[in-house]
């Protein structure tokens, strides 16, 4: 057990897999010599060599397109898109190609590929360094979409993703890279040091894709969330004294329907929280599924707390970000409804 930040846990996960499997290749913009703008690949080129970890030209479509070819060959590419906001040029290769190689060839070819990308706001990155595009992946049949909220999960999910035989989108909440974040931006930043889920085992272990984690058991209502918002919801529940059952989905596709449905049947109330813009966000899918599966158990409408339907603003980012105040109000109004 070592204490790690999420960055260190991701780096360790990559290192473990590169050491264990020569097919694992890591590349992307600035990931080689420099080790990535968030340092997630620092030291990997030096340790594993230039052909295992290297820089690429600035062309996200080319990065993913080349990785698809490598995966078809039999390698296990794990590529980095510098910010999730820059996956859009690669969206065609991701959704029309990677997601379909296995299906359209009826298994003749496969595409074991991991695409890592930092997601979410809270670093004054404005509209092009803050987006949360997960719903743009969950709508695409053939992709898996994963999103850790702790260093332990980051390493375990990443190793599971690299070992997965199909393409996995691995979204890394950049606001959690260096510490858990409860949404109180005006308070001093907290580091991962001492946090229980910052205890990361050495070597190989996995967190299976498709299994949610109940971060807090509760009786009053169910909170479905993931990524940065897990910590915001925990803080909000604490502050409002609401006995919420807080579920960290960890994996959006595949989705842990049993855990979700069991919890809502138990509590009879549910809110869904994410940072992405509200309309057509993944919260819509969660809300729709919950009321389809648990309609007769619901005592209040399923509420969504999400980013507003505008581009992520630079100066007003804390007004945009669904912080503890907004989540707290939704918790209260839902238990009281």
């Amino acid at each position: 057990m070592t204490q790690m930040t999420m960055i260190e846990a991701i780096r360790d996960g990559l290192d473990v897999m590169m050491s264990a499997d020569a097919r694992v290749i890591v590349f992307g913009e600035d990931v080689g010599y420099f080790g990535g703008v968030f340092r997630c690949t620092q030291g990997l080129q030096e340790k594993h060599g230039q052909l295992r970890c290297f820089d690429t030209p600035i062309n996200e479509s080319g990065i993913v397109g080349a990785a698809i070819g490598m995966a078809a060959y039999g390698l296990r590419p794990c590529v980095e898109i510098q910010f999730a906001d820059y996956m859009f040029p690669a969206y065609d290769q991701i959704t029309q190609e990677a997601a379909r190689i296995r299906y359209r060839s009826n298994g003749d070819f496969t595409c074991p590929l991991v695409i890592r990308m930092p997601t979410g706001g809270g670093i004054f990155g404005g509209e092009t360094h803050s987006q949360s595009p997960e719903a743009l992946f969950t709508h695409v049949s053939g992709l898996k979409t994963v999103l850790p909220a702790t260093p332990y999960d980051a390493k375990g999910l990443l190793i599971a993703a690299i070992e997965d035989p199909d393409p996995v989108i691995f979204l890394e909440p950049k606001r959690l890279y260096n510490g858990p974040f409860d949404g109180h931006h005006d308070r001093a930043a907290v580091s991962w040091a001492g946090h229980p889920s910052a205890d990361v085992p050495a070597g190989h272990y996995t967190v299976p894709l498709g299994r949610a984690a109940v971060r807090r058991e509760g009786a009053d209502l169910t909170v479905l969330t993931y990524g940065t918002m897990v910590h915001v919801c925990l803080a909000a529940a604490e502050e409002q004294g609401v006995d919420a059952e807080i579920i960290d989905l960890r994996s959006l596709i595949p989705l842990d329907l049993e855990t979700i449905e069991a919890s809502v049947r138990k509590t009879g109330r549910c809110i869904v929280v994410h940072e992405a813009t509200l309309t057509s966000g993944f919260g819509a899918e969660l809300s729709a599924r919950v009321q389809e599966a648990c309609f007769y158990h619901l005592e209040a409408p399923v509420r969504r707390v999400a980013g507003w339907d505008v581009p992520y603003p630079h100066a007003q980012e804390w007004f945009y970000f669904p912080g503890p105040a907004r989540v707290g109000r939704a918790l209260l109004e839902t238990v009281e409804a």
């Binding site: 052909l51 030209p57 080349a66 070819g69 039999g74 296995r102 009826n106 898996k144 989705l255």
Partner: protein, 412 residues
């Protein structure tokens, strides 16, 4: 707004439209044998002319001339001729089958047979093509079972792709044929990635990327060129310039300036133009480029100059946008006729043997079609299992999809 624009931009237009007399006078055709054969490790910047001229071997009279000639033996040439004839026969049958409703769609390669078939002869088992929908020749050149191709075309019970893909979007890993995408261009950079993987793996395998003239305008063409020129992996990048992109002539993508091959020069990549209707020339250039790749000398860009003699697909009628007689006016002639003439001139072939071969090939294709139709066609008589659409999206089917499968089956 100014109602009479002072035109300061141009819209490229082809020389001839329906009603006009076909005109290829602006297409310079160099003498066969005129272009030099460079050393494999040639310094790319010395190769400028090879990207603007056209490498040709077969003279009008069928004689093979110049430094690129004589790379194939008699058997190989005869096999190539028969494979081109087979592909043309297949096209004819499938176009009819489409009219009969046995398939929803078909893409002919009439006039372009030499490109894929002559190129494939330069590849080895284990190499990988990343083809477009118009390169069935890559399979025919390896005697891929015609019946299997038709099973896919008919989307029948034995369709290797289980009915998922539109006709001709084959996939045949064992034959070095990557699953064809309906989206243009995407496979070009994938080929570069596959070649990078081969290099990283230290294997001896190489990759071949394929793209059409019109599709060179797509972004993936650039991605492929950038990655290939940066990492120099063992890949041959092929542009099939068949003059048309559905209704759009090649000048729209080329900008009426230079050639498609010339796009490679700015990337410091050896770039060659070849007579795509000259079986010998296509093979010679393919041999040169694949050898460079195998020797670790990096990528090569090849523009195959040919002509799409048929419609874009069975959904297209070229009479709407180009002169009917344009195909006959194409200055590089027909690849089958040209190889036939060459073989006859060498005393290896005759009109009689050609007619006989044609008949035999027709029988082979008909026999294969009969067998395939036993497995069904789009009209019926056998189809892929409907519920199979829920299988094989992922290695392991997730719960939400299992539930959908159950719901779907409840409806049956």
């Amino acid at each position: 707004m100014n109602q009479q624009p002072t035109v300061r931009m141009t819209i490229p237009e082809p020389e001839a439209r329906p009603g006009d007399a076909p005109d290829f006078s602006r297409v310079p055709i160099p003498e066969a044998g005129a272009v030099t054969l460079p050393p494999l490790d040639v310094e790319p910047r010395l190769l400028r002319n090879h990207a603007y001229s056209i490498i040709r071997i077969l003279r009008r009279d069928g004689e093979a001339v110049g430094p690129w000639a004589e790379m194939l033996n008699e058997e190989e040439l005869l096999a190539g001729l028969k494979q081109m004839m087979t592909l043309r026969a297949l096209d004819a049958r499938m176009i009819t089958a489409q009219r009969q409703g046995k398939t929803s769609f078909y893409v002919p390669q009439t006039g372009e047979e030499a490109v894929a078939i002559a190129f494939q002869r330069a590849l080895r088992t284990g190499d990988m093509n990343f083809p477009t929908y118009r390169l069935a020749g890559l399979l025919i050149a390896q005697d891929y079972p015609l019946e299997t191709m038709m099973n896919q075309i008919f989307s029948n019970a034995e369709d290797p792709l289980a009915g998922r893909q539109m006709p001709v979007l084959y996939s045949a890993k064992e034959y070095g044929f990557f699953t064809v995408s309906g989206n243009l261009g995407t496979q070009f950079v994938q080929a570069v990635g596959w070649a990078m993987a081969a290099a990283i793996d230290g294997s001896e395998k190489i990759a071949a990327g394929w793209i059409g003239d019109g599709s060179t305008a797509e972004s993936d063409f650039h991605s492929a060129m950038v990655f290939a020129s940066t990492y120099k992996p063992p890949v041959v990048l092929n542009i099939v310039n068949n003059q048309w992109a559905i209704s759009t002539f090649q000048g729209m993508a080329r900008g009426e300036s230079g050639t498609f091959a010339a796009r490679g020069l700015g990337f410091g990549m050896p770039s060659l133009r070849v007579d795509g209707n000259d079986f010998l020339a296509v093979h010679a250039v393919a041999r040169w480029a694949t050898e460079r790749a195998r020797q670790g000398l990096g990528p090569t860009l090849i523009e195959h100059v040919t002509y799409r003699a048929g419609g874009h697909s069975t959904s297209d009628n070229p009479e709407g946008y180009r002169p009917q007689a344009e195909s006959d006016a194409w200055p590089l002639g027909d690849p089958i006729e040209r190889l036939k003439l060459h073989l006859i001139r060498r005393g290896l072939w005759s009109d009689e043997r050609h007619a006989q071969a044609q008949a035999e090939i027709r029988d082979t294709v008909v026999t294969a079609q009969k067998a395939a139709e036993k497995n069904g066609t789009l009209l019926g008589g056998g189809a892929p299992r409907r519920r199979s659409i829920f299988e094989g999206l992922y290695a392991e089917t997730p719960l939400h999809l299992e539930r959908q499968r159950a719901a779907a089956e409840a409806l049956l």
